[in-house]
Amino acid sequence: MADGYVVRVSGPVVVAEGLEEPKMYDVVKVGELGLVGEIIRIQGSKATVQVYEDTTGVRPGDKVVNTKQALSVELGPGLLSSIYDGVQRPLSVLREESGDFIARGISIAPLDEKKKWEFQAQKKDGEEVVEGEVIGIVQETPLITHRIMVPIGLRGKLKGLRSGEYTIRDPIGSIATPQGEVELFLATKWRVRTPRPILRKLPPDSPLLTGQRVLDTFFPVAKGGTAAIPGPFGSGKTVTQQQLAKWADSNVIVYVGCGERGNEMTEVLATFPELEDPKSKRPLMERTILVANTSNMPVAAREASIYTGITMAEYYRDMGYDVALMADSTSRWAEALREISGRLEEMPGEEGYPAYLGRRLAEFYERAGKVVVVSPDKRVGSVTVVGAVSPPGGDFSEPVSQNTLRVTRVFWALDASLASRRHFPSINWLTSYSLYVDTLSTWYSKNVADEFPALRKEALEVLQKEAELQDIVQLVGYDALPEAEKGLLDLARMIREDYLQQNAFDEVDTYTSIHKQYVMLRTILAFGRRTAEAIRRGAQATQLSSLPVKSKISRLKWTPEAEVDRLVEEIEREMGEQIEGVVREAVAQ
């Protein structure tokens, strides 16, 4: 059989001729080194290949071999705690093989092929099983039970399924299908560009709680929902994404570092094993998969990385888990797309991006959702997708931001002017939105407090009013405002500083349970109502704004969960006394 050969090379794009039966998205190996690439265009006898490794040194005439397999990921026990590049090569093993710098042409199995897993069969021989059905389990990490499912597309009678110790390459039994007998393994493969099938989507109805006050209280994302975080550099995209990866109440986290900094992945690798999940007290790494294709790694693999990530996310969803995927940054993915498109000399759309940018983005976010998975027991799982967007110059009118906002339902607008004054997270409370607020309000009323949605609304109104008043202050000065409005400004400032601002690097402040969020907000707003009342009775705003109880309210965010209720009681008592004191004085004068 004849191999193909290179006829043209330009950066990551190689054109080959003479390939045997080229099909779109077939994986090929290019040159002596066997650089991995994927066919992305076929024209007559020519196949255009995007190569996932640096092509320096490749020349016309070099051979090209078609593996005749579509770009796929391997799915099975061992995914959790791993760190992969954009085409699922495990970076830890790559380091053993090629040293500290990534060498080219190395192919490594994504999952440890030698490791033995304890498999517990849950079905018996002779039982009829269908696709998606759970036939047994492996305790992948102390946090996650890996459910071994009948691969999509198979059904039939089980044969020889036994509990025991297996590697992912050992057959665990087989299945007699109408087409013949098929061996079963702990791991399967799936093509990254094809969504794993589902039975149907369900409306997302519970929040993904993140421990971040501005998100959970004001702009929540639902489990199975989509959110976009656009912002200029330094505004907090990565820290927010990492906070979600740390604290979100999801079963599994897939964190895709797409075209961003190497040190940021190192930071995750260094901190996650040491942080514990607030509920289970296990290291966070045990529920996390990292995909790292940093900015200096090959650009085509960057394009693939978000598909690699979301396919793994869907796989755990199919087991019935809630999975959250963070992609930082989808703009780098889009730029990879643009670069490849440019090399293909395609007709450019806006700002050089290909005309299909919007469609590709929509297809990606469409893979999120709360779903009934393909299974006889109608398991429910979810994939939440949170994508960072890096608009050039911080201008949200550019194509990636705009196309993303069209297909995502939560918008966390990062604001450079907030970041520059170190208001973190620098999420603008006036422009951000969540389209899940209404559907989730039932959940909040039932699970947090009846009044929670009302408190949220009240706080937002204060902030909105503040923005209007600030315009007036610009014209007439603060002193010209009526007392009541001075009081409102004071309250708004408390909401901003004592509630919205949250320091990701403070041991306590980094995470706030939804209960603590509720009591904090209730306390601040109670202070606001009482001072407003006091002002009506003649008190001065300036006197109220220097009450000692305020510093106790500020301290709430730094108060450990277990001590919050006690401090709140104390505050409520002192608040009453101190405000009354001011009123008495004012009336006496």
Partner: protein, 461 residues
């Protein structure tokens, strides 16, 4: 492979040559071009197909023609020989001696593009570098292995500042070997001389390697210069276990060269004519900073760029900021107010600050103090803008306090001498003095116990 020579140049377009009849040039292959007068320049293959190679010329295309010039394909990609002897030497933008000294005899040659560091091999930078400059140490701390650019503008004192940092930077309690690699791209000879004199006076020259592509040198060389510098830096960091500070200036000129090539190739331009792959290209430079687990040396990068029209959203600073671990921002406004260094801390950022500060590294109150100073300064500046409209009389008493705090911050904290080398304790003490203007209840970002411990009361209220 025997180098093949072709005389089949079909077209010379800007910095590009289109060579016909070539069937197997490698992508990235280095070529040598000889013009009619026998002068030689180097180039590199940007695109290769059956029968055609597109070559980017590094030197000047002056004297190149389609009739008598020839192109020799050398069969290898861009590599550079590096050795110990490079310390104390000055080279041109392509690595040839510029100081009249002998060429470097190197045992080993390295690929100048360099493979990406495996993210799994990286070590988180966390060692505090004291630069002696309060606006950096106190507010935007630099750590070893970081890439922290200076965002500057034409005529601002970025060179003086860079030299001061190079002169004063130290890791407390450590006495390890260090080196400076300096790469100039398109700067004037006067600027280059400034740095050479600086290095000479402080004795740093013998620990430095300089690559100079000056404004009068061919602009295309600039595409190679930073890569040569970084390859050299990697040699000293990873083979010789040194801590290397790499200064790259001016990245704006580097980006202009990229744009020139892209335009010559008729590529679909990204923003403002810069190529769509400029982000990736810059990343292959900046991401070469760092530390590697189990290796002793490190590479700290300080790129300098001048923002066209002082515009931070221009693609050059914008893409840089998206890659680097923060930025030190020089402000024309502060410069006009006579403040040196004119660092605008609100626009500046060190993303690795948290790893380098706190108990055991700088001081436990550092984070909170810095956060409070940011907030206070930001608010003070707002008040300043407001008072320009409504007058100081219309301000509340609290606003006036912030106004004073912002004044003190600029005059006492940010401003310092070119030869003033402050310890981190001095920097933090000055910070507390600035905050003395504000009552306790305003210090919401500092833990109460630190306020108690470190607080200074305003003199005279």
């Amino acid at each position: 492979m025997i180098p093949l020579t072709y005389k089949t140049i079909r077209q010379v377009a800007g910095p590009l040559l289109f060579v016909e009849g070539v069937n197997d040039a490698a992508y990235g292959e280095i070529v040598e071009i000889t013009n009619a007068l026998g002068e030689r320049v180097r180039g590199q293959v940007l695109e290769s197909g059956k029968g055609l190679a597109v070559v980017q010329v590094f030197g000047s295309t002056l004297g190149l023609d389609v009739n008598s010039s020839s192109v020799r394909f050398l069969g290898e990609t861009a590599r550079v020989g590096v050795s110990d002897e490079m310390l104390g030497r000055v080279f041109d933008g392509l690595g040839n001696p510029r100081d009249g000294g002998a060429p470097i005899v190197a045992k080993e040659k390295f690929d100048i593009v360099g493979s990406a560091i495996n993210p799994y091999s990286r070590e988180e930078p966390s060692e505090f570098i004291q630069t002696g400059i309060s606006a950096i140490d106190g507010m935007n701390t630099l750590v070893r292995g970081q890439k922290l650019p200076l965002f500057s503008g034409a005529g601002l004192p970025h060179n003086v500042l860079a030299a001061q940092i190079a002169r004063q930077a130290k890791v407390l309690g450590a006495s390890e070997e260090f080196a400076v690699v300096f790469a100039a791209m398109g700067i004037t000879s006067e600027e280059a001389n400034f740095f050479m004199r600086e290095f000479e006076e402080t004795g740093a020259l013998e620990r430095s390697v300089l690559f100079l592509n000056l404004s009068s040198d061919p602009s295309m060389e600039r595409v190679l210069t930073p890569r040569l510098a970084l390859t050299t830096a990697e040699f000293f960091a990873y083979e010789k276990e040194m801590h290397v500070l790499v200064i790259l200036t001016d990245m704006t000129n580097y980006c202009e060269a990229l744009r020139e090539i892209s335009a010559a190739r008729d590529e679909v331009p990204g923003r403002r004519g810069y190529p769509g792959y400029m982000y990736t290209d810059l990343a292959t430079i900046y991401e070469r900073a760092g530390k590697i687990r189990g290796r002793k040396g490190s590479i700290t990068q300080m790129p300098i760029l001048t923002m066209p029209a002082d515009d931070k959203t221009h693609p050059i600073p914008d893409l840089t900021g998206y890659i680097t671990e923060g930025q030190v921002y020089l402000s024309r406004e502060l410069e006009r107010a006579g403040i040196y260094p004119p660092i605008d801390v609100l626009e500046s950022l060190s993303r690795l600050m948290n790893q380098g500060i706190g108990r055991g590294k700088t001081r436990e109150d550092h984070r909170g103090l810095a956060d409070q100073l940011y907030a206070a300064y930001a608010q003070g500046k707002d008040v300043r803008a407001l008072s320009a409209i409504v007058g100081v009389e219309a301000l509340s008493e609290n606003d006036r306090r912030y106004l004073r705090a912002a004044e003190r911050f600029e005059k006492m904290f940010v401003a310092q001498g070119v030869y003033e080398d402050r310890t981190i304790e001095q920097t933090l003490e000055i910070g507390w003095e600035v905050l003395a203007e504000l009552p306790d209840s305003e210090l919401k970002k500092i833990r109460p116990e630190y306020i108690q411990k470190y607080r200074k009361k305003a003199s005279g209220g």
